[in-house]
Symmetry: C2
Subunit: 207 residues, 2 copies
C-alpha cells in the first residue's frame, strides 16, 4: 500500500506524536529504533505503530527496525512540515503574546509572521519584533504573506467573526484557542485547544 488515499484521520493525528518521539531519538543520537520501542515510549501498541505507518509506505527493515533520521524525514514530508508555514495570530492578549514569543514553532515547521488585535492600545506595539496590526489590515497582510494557517486567541464572543474574516482572507487551517465550536466551510481545517476541556476530562476520575 502507501499510495492509496483516504487515510483515517485518527491515524494522521498520531503522526505528529511519532514525529515528536523521533525528534527526541535524534537528540539522543539514536540511529535505529523499533515499533516496540516507540510504542513503549508513547504508550501505544507496536502493532498500531506498524499499521499506522503501513498506510504511507514501507519505512523499516525486518530485524533492524527503522532508521530514525529516515523515518523522521518521511513523516515530515507526509505531514507537509518539510517546509515553513507562515502563521497569523489573532488576538494579542496574554495568550497571543505567548504564542508570538514561543520558540517551539520554527523548529517544527511554523513561523508566526503577523499579529492582529482590535484594541487601539495594542496596535503598533511590538511583540518579538512584530508590530501588532489592526484587523483592517488582516486581509491584505494574509494575502501578501500567503498565510494559510492561523491561531485564534481572542475572547470567545469574537471568535466566530474572526474565523469568518480568516476564511474570507483565504486561511485554510485554524487553531482555535477560544472555548467555542466555530463553523467554517468544509474546505477549512479547524482544531481546538481548550485547557478546561482537558482538566474537566481528568477531574472525572478524581474524588
Amino acid at each position: 500500500m502507501g499510495s492509496i488515499r483516504n487515510i483515517p484521520d485518527i491515524v494522521v493525528g498520531r503522526l505528529p506524536i511519532y514525529l515528536r518521539a523521533l525528534d527526541r531519538l535524534i537528540l539522543e543520537r539514536r540511529e535505529y529504533t523499533s515499533s516496540h520501542e516507540l510504542g513503549e515510549r508513547l504508550g501505544i501498541s507496536s502493532a498500531q505503530i506498524r499499521k499506522d505507518l503501513s498506510h504511507f509506505g514501507e519505512f523499516g527493515k525486518q530485524g533492524t527496525g527503522y532508521n530514525v533520521a529516515y523515518l523522521f524525514d518521511q513523516i515530515r514530508q507526509i505531514l507537509h512540515v518539510d517546509r515553513e508555514w507562515p502563521m497569523a495570530v489573532i488576538g494579542a492578549g496574554d495568550l497571543g503574546r505567548a504564542l508570538v514569543h514561543y520558540r517551539g514553532f520554527v523548529p517544527r515547521g511554523f513561523r508566526v509572521v503577523c499579529v492582529f488585535d482590535t484594541d487601539p492600545e495594542r496596535i503598533g506595539e511590538e511583540i518579538a519584533g512584530l508590530k501588532v496590526q489592526p484587523m483592517t489590515e488582516l486581509d491584505e497582510t494574509i494575502s501578501t504573506h500567503r498565510v494559510q494557517v492561523a491561531m485564534i486567541s481572542v475572547p470567545l464572543e469574537a471568535a466566530q467573526a474572526v474565523a469568518n474574516q480568516l476564511v474570507e482572507a483565504g486561511v485554510k487551517a485554524i487553531l482555535n484557542y477560544a472555548p467555542i465550536t466555530i463553523a467554517v466551510p468544509e474546505s477549512v481545517q479547524v482544531q481546538y485547544i481548550d485547557p478546561v476541556v482537558h482538566l474537566q476530562h481528568m477531574t472525572f476520575y478524581l474524588k
Copy 2:
C-alpha cells in the same frame, strides 16, 4: 442504566464539550434544547449525544428534550466540577504567566493558587497577585493547599523531573504543555497540549 461504572474514556472526553455548549445556551437564555440541536452545533450526531448521556442516567423528556440548566448541573456533577479545584502552575515563562492570568478557569471549576519556577530572577515576582515560589517550596505548598491538579509549562528538558516532583507531592492530574510524553504512575491522569501537534495534523490536508 446510569449507575454501572466503566464508562468509555472517549465518552467522558466529550462531556466537557457538551458542558461548554450548554453554558453557551444558558447565556442565550434558552430553557430547553435537544440532542439534535446540540449535535448540530457541535458537529456530532444526535444519536451519539443521547447514547453518551445514557451512560449516566436519563436527563431528557420525550417530546421536549433537555432542560438546559438541569443537564448542565448534572454534567457538572458527573465531571466533578460542581466545586473549585485549586491548581498549581509550574513554570513562569510566557505561557505560565498567561495561564495564571487566564480568567476562564474560575467560571469552569478551577483556580490557580500557586506558581513555581527555578529562575531566581522570577522567584518573588508577582503574577496576578500570586508570588512566584521556588521549586523547593512545591511539596509543602501543594500539601497545604490540597492541590491535586497541576499544569506544567516548563521547557521540555525539565518536564519529566517536574512531573516526578508533582506526583511525589500528591498531584493526581497533570496538564502537560511541554511537548514530550511523560511517564507517571497509573493512578495519575495526564493530558497534553501541544499546539504543533494540532498544526501538523492540519497541514497534512493542505498543499
